[in-house]
Symmetry: C2
Subunit: 217 residues, 2 copies
């Protein structure tokens, strides 16, 4: 498929800056939430995921530098949406932290794959290399499944939690789009409003399949 967006579209810098702040915010949140881990293995798994976020950050920083953009001032405008998402979804248990990690990682992967398809090759390469290191969160599946197998109450509670995570993510994504015209233009250039609606529908569908994977559906 030919790229639908040109490499100099101003929305690309904004997209990279948004993703970069997302990586830094995820790094600090994962590390904070890892304190709830019941053992050293849990803390190490969370630390490894957090470290992967910083590796992604460095890919985005280098890509922005090649485009002549200084990452730190560019990304601060996305701080409030991402910090709000994390603040509104602060887990109260280790299982909630695990589900948040898994759902967040999966939503990011969906998002990266969707946008890579319509971008010029050099941009798609950056997006895919950021994506390529996700998947650390598979350790979550066995721990969550074990916890909900014996407890309908736990399953019900975590299913509600995961719906809330998706809802808050969509809410914050809409705030970001409402405030940043270049990003809206980028999404429009990549297929327009109907594609955006389709995207949110697909996000809902893949979210449901992940809930099944975790034993929460």
């Amino acid at each position: 498929m030919a790229p639908l967006v040109s490499a100099d579209h101003p929305g690309i810098n904004e997209l990279f800056a948004l993703l970069a702040y997302g990586e830094v915010a995820a790094f600090y949140r994962l590390t904070e939430e890892a304190k709830m881990a019941p053992n050293l293995s849990g803390r190490i798994n969370m630390a490894a995921m957090a470290a992967a976020e910083m590796n992604h950050y460095e890919v985005l920083r280098d890509a922005l530098a090649r485009r002549g953009v200084d990452i730190v001032p560019s990304m601060t405008k996305y701080a409030s949406a991402l910090e709000n998402y994390h603040r509104l979804t602060t887990p109260s248990t280790w299982l909630e932290a695990l589900v948040k990690t898994f759902v967040g990682d999966a939503m990011a992967a969906d998002f990266y794959l969707e946008i890579a398809d319509v971008m010029p090759a050099e941009v798609a390469d950056v997006v895919r290399s950021v994506l390529s290191e996700t998947g650390h969160s598979q350790f979550v599946v066995s721990e969550v499944r074990a916890a909900v197998t014996g407890s309908d109450r736990q399953r019900h509670r975590l299913a509600l939690w995961s719906r809330r995570l998706l809802g808050e993510a969509i809410t914050q994504a809409q705030f970001v789009l409402a405030e940043h015209d270049e990003l809206v233009e980028l999404v429009m250039a990549g297929g327009g409003l109907s594609q955006m609606t389709d995207f949110f529908d697909r996000l809902q569908n893949t979210h449901n399949s992940r809930m099944q994977e975790l034993g929460l559906a």
Copy 2:
């Protein structure tokens, strides 16, 4: 130089386990101490250093796995010494946090280089690849030098702080050696007690040269 220690020396597993816990402890401490950063750039620099620690951890985990050793149970016995070091050297300002990062990184690098020389090639390769990613802490130099150039009081205070860091590190290293015979045998096999004394002397000397680099000497 021919290796002085054979690849199946039991101290090697212990050494890797000790280093591995050191990486995980450093990850969490750097991330915690990064909260003192006055700005986003500082937080990102600390996060990047923390992420590098987890990359080192993964090298050590894989090396131990190849030797048939499960890393998590092996490393817990080194938790108290490393947690004590960090607890006794909790910084109270961002500048103290920066100096701690730099001194800790430098001491680890010295240590890695010293031991790599006497190890068999496969072990030395692991040690050197863990070392190869250090050096993130150069960002510290310009910030500390700027702070102490205008303030003798700040220079004096940070010089005392850095001596305390070295002292606590040596104290904890001696506790670890006192409790783990395999590690003592490893050091002995690598040249004996006089080499160990030389090592602590060299550590002191390189520490002094680093204090000059930071403008603290």
